[in-house]
């Protein structure tokens, strides 16, 4: 069977000593930043993007992927033990996880989170492997018009499913698209918006934008609040859940996994949305639980933790097969591919099969490492929380600055990053969510290219987007999404849903 052959190739790639090593480094760093509140996976990926430049592309992507799903594991540890979401998708885990810890069941909560995540990760990886082939086949049927419409749907979907103001999010996307256009236009050779600065003729460095807007801006924002992190080392207790707890929790793991797998594929989906949705559903399904939700119900840990990990895995599907990132983390993965001169899109599977399948199988291996790594090491992770932020952020700045310098060996990029740090801080002050900007930035040149090609093929007739059935379907879907969210009734519900859990 082809799938088995592919997976065999993947394992052969992922199990080389070098790739195992980088996978390990990735999940280790991921867990670390997942544990530490105040640094999210997006910022960390942005910071480490330049470092991976020195690595072979497969190892680089394996490591970056490891950081993403490693952070999901790490985040749950902090959530349960200290009642702090180390990472945004663990916000819901705090609710019941910390209550379980207070009742002396911290060990059970941690084990449930880890095992649930591992199960969900395994299913997620299988989903990616199984769906990759049909998705790629579908992608090859796409012409430029379909691609353009797909990107419109992807970008709209990404903001519709997230919280906050819809119009501002769309404006941020368009601004990102514009920033992505800076640099030499491939068709005419004109250096657009470069102001005669030679470095800008190559375009704005992607890592500089991501690192400035997410990394630096986050640090400045964190410095505004006094460092008030306290660590209270609660006893972890027995690690394994009791038989009764296990029986009660496993259906929630299954539901969370299923939900996360589906939501991860959707634009805007991924870990965060999956966790929120899974918690809400568990709360609705479990009528009259013995321990109410919010008071330490084990399902309130099992479902969101499984869902966020499944979502983290399956959000790789649109990125790997179509080259279209469904969320900011995947946008960074696309950026990493471009740094290594790999054009993201359906052709990756045929042109770099070892990279493609190696990455997928490495995710399963990484998940396994995480279970082995996390449960015995919890004590060490908790100690890490005692590192004060005033020591942490200069260290982060050092890594960022060296990393950004080393991409092109020039100081100009460092300055550009600082400028985007300023811009990111302005966004933070004005309640503008920066993630859509990054998505737009990545897709800007691709979108223009496909728009141009589609219009060239149709001889300037813009109706081509509506007369080709696939393209029309995608645009209609995008329009329906906007209309649904704009309806006052649903708008209110959407806001409630995002506020209820936080």
């Amino acid at each position: 069977m082809e799938l088995i052959d592919n997976l065999a190739l993947g394992f052969a790639t992922a199990l080389t000593l070098q790739n195992l090593f980088y996978c390990f480094i990735g999940v280790l760093i991921g867990t670390l930043i997942g544990v530490l509140p105040g640094i999210g996976p997006v910022a960390t990926l942005a910071m480490l993007l330049p470092v991976t430049y020195a690595l072979p592309p497969t190892s680089a992507l394996i490591m970056l992927a490891g950081i993403y799903y490693g952070a999901q594991y790490g985040g749950s540890t902090t959530a349960i033990l200290v009642n702090l979401p180390g990472e945004s998708s663990s916000v819901v885990t705090c609710l019941d996880g910390y209550q379980m810890a207070r009742r002396g069941r911290a060990g059970a909560a941690l084990a449930t989170a880890a095992l649930g995540s591992f199960f969900a990760g395994t299913v997620g990886v299988l989903m990616v492997a199984a769906l990759a082939l049909p998705m790629v086949e579908l992608a090859f049927k796409f012409g430029p018009a379909e691609y353009f419409s797909l990107m419109v749907l992807g970008l709209i979907g990404a903001v519709v499913l997230a919280g906050g103001s819809l119009i501002k999010a769309i404006a941020m996307i368009v601004l990102g698209l514009l920033l992505g256009l800076v640099g030499t236009d491939v068709n005419s050779g004109v250096a657009r918006f470069s102001f005669d600065i030679p470095e800008l003729a190559d375009g704005i460095n992607f890592a500089a934008v991501a690192m400035g807007v997410f990394g630096f801006a986050e640090i400045i924002a964190n410095l505004e609040h006094k460092d008030k992190r306290e660590v209270f080392t609660s006893k972890v207790g027995k690690l394994l859940p009791s038989k009764e707890e296990f029986k009660y929790a496993y259906p929630a793991v299954l539901r969370g996994t299923a939900l996360g797998s589906v939501l991860g594929v959707l634009p805007g989906g991924g870990a965060l949305l999956s966790a929120f949705a899974a918690y809400t559903i568990e709360k609705k399904i479990s009528r009259n639980p013995k321990i109410p939700f919010g008071k330490g119900n084990i399902r309130g840990v099992a479902a969101p933790e499984s869902a966020n990990n499944a979502g983290a895995q399956t959000s790789f599907i649109p990125m790997l097969t179509l080259g279209i990132p469904p969320n900011a983390v995947m946008a960074l993965m696309v950026g990493a591919m471009t740094i290594h001169n790999i054009q993201p899109g359906p052709q990756v599977m045929s042109s770099n099969p070892a990279l493609f399948w190696g990455l997928i199988t490495s995710m399963w291996i990484g998940n396994l490492m995480l279970v082995v790594l996390n449960l015995p090491l919890i004590g060490i992770w908790v100690q890490l929380l005692k590192v004060p932020y005033r020591l942490l952020y200069p260290a982060i700045l050092v890594f960022c600055s060296i990393g950004i310098y080393s991409i092109n060996n020039n100081a100009f990029d460092v300055t550009v990053t600082a400028v985007f740090g300023l811009l990111g801080y302005v966004f933070y002050k004005l309640r503008c969510e920066p993630a859509p900007l990054i998505l737009g930035f990545i897709l800007g040149p691709m979108m223009e290219e496909n728009l141009r090609r589609a219009m060239l093929l149709s001889r300037g007739d813009a109706t081509v987007f509506f007369t080709r059935p696939l393209s029309l379907g995608l645009l209609v879907a995008a329009a329906v999404l906007v209309v649904i969210v704009a309806l006052p009734n649903i708008k209110k519900k959407r806001e409630e849903a995002f506020q209820e859990v936080t």
């Binding site: 630096f216 410095l223 460092d227 050092v398 100081a411 300055t415 002050k429 004005l430 219009m455």
Partner: protein, 153 residues
């Protein structure tokens, strides 16, 4: 006329400014035609869209209240010190070498925190220097000048 949501008001202003800038500046380039789009076509479209969205956000800010609508004071100290330390690092790296640039970066950025302790900053600088040398210079063998230019061969 009353601004009910300051954050959205200034967001609107920001989008309008960005949109006007990009659409306006794009006119330096060739527009082309719908079938053969020139370099100005897409930026003009997007700039116009940003401009319009900015106006909508602005109008909304006059009409609807938001619980988190008030602008909070800017922490200029952290802003200037953090970003300044990064720029200084970039400028110093080539002439003064990695070690000097790193001490400057850690030193200046640490001033941005509420609690500054000289001893910790020095220890952190030394620790980071060792780590960076181990990881970047020896581990990943990056070509970054380590010592100041007059001490190099």
């Amino acid at each position: 006329m009353k601004i009910r949501d300051q954050k959205n008001f200034w967001s609107g202003v920001m989008f309008i400014a960005f949109g006007a800038f990009f659409a306006g500046w794009a006119q330096h380039y060739d527009m082309g035609s719908a079938a053969r789009m020139g370099p100005a076509f897409f930026p003009t479209m997007l700039g116009g869209l940003t401009f319009l969205l900015g106006i909508v956000v602005l109008i909304q800010s006059l009409a609807t209240e938001h619980p988190d609508g008030k602008l909070e004071p800017v922490n200029f100290r952290a802003l200037v010190l953090v970003l300044g330390s990064v720029v200084a690092f970039g400028l110093l790296l080539r002439p003064a070498g990695l070690l000097v640039a790193l001490f400057v970066l850690v030193g200046i950025s640490s001033l941005g925190s509420h609690e500054f302790r000289l001893r910790d900053v020095l220890l952190l600088s030394v620790g980071m220097s060792l780590l960076v040398l181990a990881v970047f210079i020896y581990g990943l063998s990056m070509t970054i000048p380590v010592l100041p230019s007059f001490m190099r061969e």
